[in-house]
């Protein structure tokens, strides 16, 4: 079980290299090979999830034992929180790879696409598994470097411009992170996250502490597209090929942004009320502003990209509420509820936003446009796309009985119980506007049969695309079972525990 951890990084890397070597000689190998390897990763991560339970696995790369009780090698850590991210990455990765079999066949240089895809997955797995600050930076760079190339994969004008913007802001974020890492090394002389926490306990200057927190928050906030740093996201996510949009929106901003922010601010820094309020405010602004920016757009993928900002706002808001409650040291039950709601929404968002981007890709694949005004009456021709997109739209707008409803409900209940009535009201408000915006999407794209004749003769997309959309649509309904408290404790309990008992992470690792 413990030996499983390096495999999660090694398998996608080897797949990527083999695709590049063998893809030159064997036709069509790359398509199926990537899907099979992603399926293997999915099986492994589900296996890890089932067997992990409440424990925290630590793997020492190179086998170097700690010297006089502080770690010297790079540690890979798998706990209840990272295993959830690992499962999401492999799930969306498998479905996007399977969907690509048909979708990417219209592009040239397919083997490059699949190799870059595998490298991106390897980078995200590396970030999620790592317990070392500099190692997080390296694998973060790997995943975003692959995504820069994938965003511009179509090499049209829009793609190139979006990718340039993405690269400049991503590079800025990387340097802010590297500056913070160097300042932390200057102070603590170590790079291991748990060890940094131990050293920082011994005392620090207040300004230094706030400065590195601001640097890390803005660096990873740029990667996660929290509102003042969101400028790149609508361009990059809307111009990438659709399976990549699903990966970027569904997984990359979580693994590279939100996950690291949560990990560092819960498990590395002492939680202070000021920074918790800052995080909550940023989350609230993202939630409201993202949805307000989204309503005016007629390009489907751009609309979905703005909704990503808004939905990520929900996650950050609920985790911020959890942080505030933990820092005040009272009502841990509500803090657990808020954090659980945030994680539940994180999982849900990966599923329904991935599905919505795949739907948008199918529409683009058949009728060749992303403009809502030029669509209409598609439900008659594309039954699977329209029904799965209906499920996803209702799910993202929080209509029962789909999964989005329950996670939003939990977040709102937690906000109200923590006496943040205004935040609860804003969450409801954002949810209503989301519903309006997706009703527009449904109406203009799929119903509206008066303009039916324009698209006569189109047919449903090929089988791999249908199957991946149906799988995700099924998951949208199935994930609702997490609403029952018993099942939620079973699935999310270990993750909530590692976050809420703020010393648990560092004591497990340093206590080795």
């Amino acid at each position: 079980m413990n030996n499983l951890l390096p495999i999660f990084v090694a398998v996608p890397l080897i797949t990527g290299f083999l695709v590049m070597i063998l893809g030159k000689f064997i036709r069509n190998l790359h398509k199926y090979f990537t899907s099979i390897s992603m399926l293997l990763l999915l099986i492994l991560s589900v296996y890890a999830f089932i067997n992990l339970g409440d424990q925290t696995l630590v793997y020492v790369v190179g086998g170097w034992k700690p010297v006089s009780n502080f770690p010297i090698a790079i540690y890979l850590v798998l706990d209840g929180f990272s295993v959830i991210l690992l499962c999401i990455i492999s799930l969306i990765g498998f479905i996007a790879a399977f969907y690509s079999i048909s979708y990417i066949s219209r592009y040239t240089a397919e083997n490059h696409y699949y190799a870059l895809f595998c490298l991106m997955v390897a980078g995200m797995n590396g970030v999620v598994l790592s317990g070392d600050l500099f190692n997080i930076f390296v694998f973060l760079e790997l995943s975003v470097m692959a995504s820069y190339a994938l965003v511009a994969f179509g090499i049209g004008k829009e793609e190139l411009e979006a990718s340039f913007k993405y690269q400049v802001l991503g590079g800025l974020a990387s340097f802010l992170i590297l500056l913070a890492v160097s300042l932390i090394y200057w102070k603590t002389k170590t790079l291991n996250i748990a060890d940094i926490r131990e050293v920082l306990k011994a005392g620090y200057s207040k300004t230094f502490y706030i400065f590195i927190q601001i640097l890390l928050l803005s660096g990873f906030g740029l990667k996660a597209a929290i509102v003042p740093f969101h400028a790149w996201l609508p361009d990059a996510h809307s111009s990438a090929p659709s399976p990549i949009s699903a990966m970027l929106s569904g997984v990359l901003i979580k693994a590279a942004g939100i996950y690291v922010i949560i990990r560092l601010f819960f498990n590395m820094f002492e939680i202070s009320e000021e920074i918790a309020i800052v995080i909550t405010t940023l989350g609230t602004i993202s939630m409201v502003l993202g949805v307000l920016l989204a309503i005016g757009h007629w390009d489907i993928k751009r609309l979905l990209a703005y909704h990503s900002i808004s939905q990520m706002g929900y996650v950050i808001l609920s985790l911020g509420i959890g942080m505030i409650l933990i820092s005040r040291g009272k009502s841990p039950g509500i803090a657990a509820l808020a954090i659980g709601g945030g994680l539940f929404h994180l999982i849900n968002h990966a599923v329904f936003k991935g599905l919505l981007f795949l739907n948008a890709g199918s529409i683009e694949y058949t009728i060749g446009t992303r403009n809502l005004k030029e669509m209409g009456g598609l439900s008659a021709f594309m039954p699977f796309t329209s029904s799965s997109s209906f499920v996803a739209s209702m799910s993202i707008s929080g209509v029962p009985p789909f999964n989005g409803f329950f996670s939003k409900l939990i977040i709102i209940i937690a906000a109200v119980e923590a006496k943040f009535y205004f935040l609860g009201f804003l969450a409801v408000f954002a949810s209503i506007i989301t519903l309006a915006s997706f009703l527009k999407f449904q109406r203009y794209a799929f119903s509206n049969s008066s303009r039916n004749n324009k698209h006569a003769g189109i047919s449903e997309v090929p089988f791999p695309m249908i199957l991946s959309m149906v799988l995700l649509g099924f998951l949208c309904i199935a994930l609702s079972v997490l609403a029952f408290p018993g099942i939620r404790d079973l699935v999310l309990g270990p993750a909530i525990n590692i976050l809420i008992h703020i010393d648990a992470y560092s004591s497990i690792i340093s206590g080795m």
Binding site: V67, I72, T108, L119, L142, E159, T207, F208, F211
Partner: protein
């Protein structure tokens, strides 16, 4: 030591400011080279010969690529035009710079002064490391043994960049 590095750093800052304001893109690229080669001298003074070798070669190759790109397109900097967006950007960046400088100045007061560094994690990399890894060059020992996993990631990043450059420079995107 501190004085000589400060003097080189002042030259590097002058080069950097010139690179940002040059009217000719070729001069800007060459001025960026000043910063890069100044860095090589600093590395040599600060007892980091490995980095000096890597940086001098990498800087040369980067410079060749950048000069080739500039010669291949245009050398002229854009005409300076003052507009609201530009002024807003200037103001924002000055506020940001002033704030960051103040924070940095205050926060480094509590940290070790130059030259008084102590080791914690790296202690194990130095004491008896030659026997542990068998490598006389401690930096090589660190990058290939203690932190070999980082190095794997780094090599893969360079590989990704090569792959990405080939992907971006295709003739046609779609069939």
């Amino acid at each position: 030591m501190e004085q000589s590095i400060s003097i080189i750093l002042i030259f590097m800052i002058v080069g950097a400011v010139y690179a940002l304001h040059a009217k000719d893109l070729l001069s800007a690229v060459i001025a960026c080279g000043i910063v890069g080669y100044g860095l090589v001298i600093c590395f040599l003074l600060l007892k980091a010969p490995d980095l000096a070798i890597v940086q001098i070669v990498v800087e040369t190759i980067t410079l060749i690529i950048m000069v080739a790109v500039v010669l291949d397109s245009t050398r002229h900097e854009l005409a300076v035009q003052v507009d609201t967006q530009g002024i807003i950007n200037q103001i924002i960046s000055f506020i940001l710079i002033a704030g960051m400088f103040y924070f940095f100045y205050v926060s480094i007061q509590s940290l070790d002064v130059f030259g008084a560094h102590t080791v914690r994690m790296a202690n194990a990399y130095i004491e008896g490391a030659a026997e542990k890894t068998g490598s006389a060059n401690l930096v090589t020992g660190v990058i290939f043994d203690f932190r070999g996993y980082d190095t794997l990631g780094e090599a893969v990043i360079l590989y990704t960049a090569a792959l990405g450059v080939m992907t971006l420079l295709r003739i046609q995107g779609k069939k």
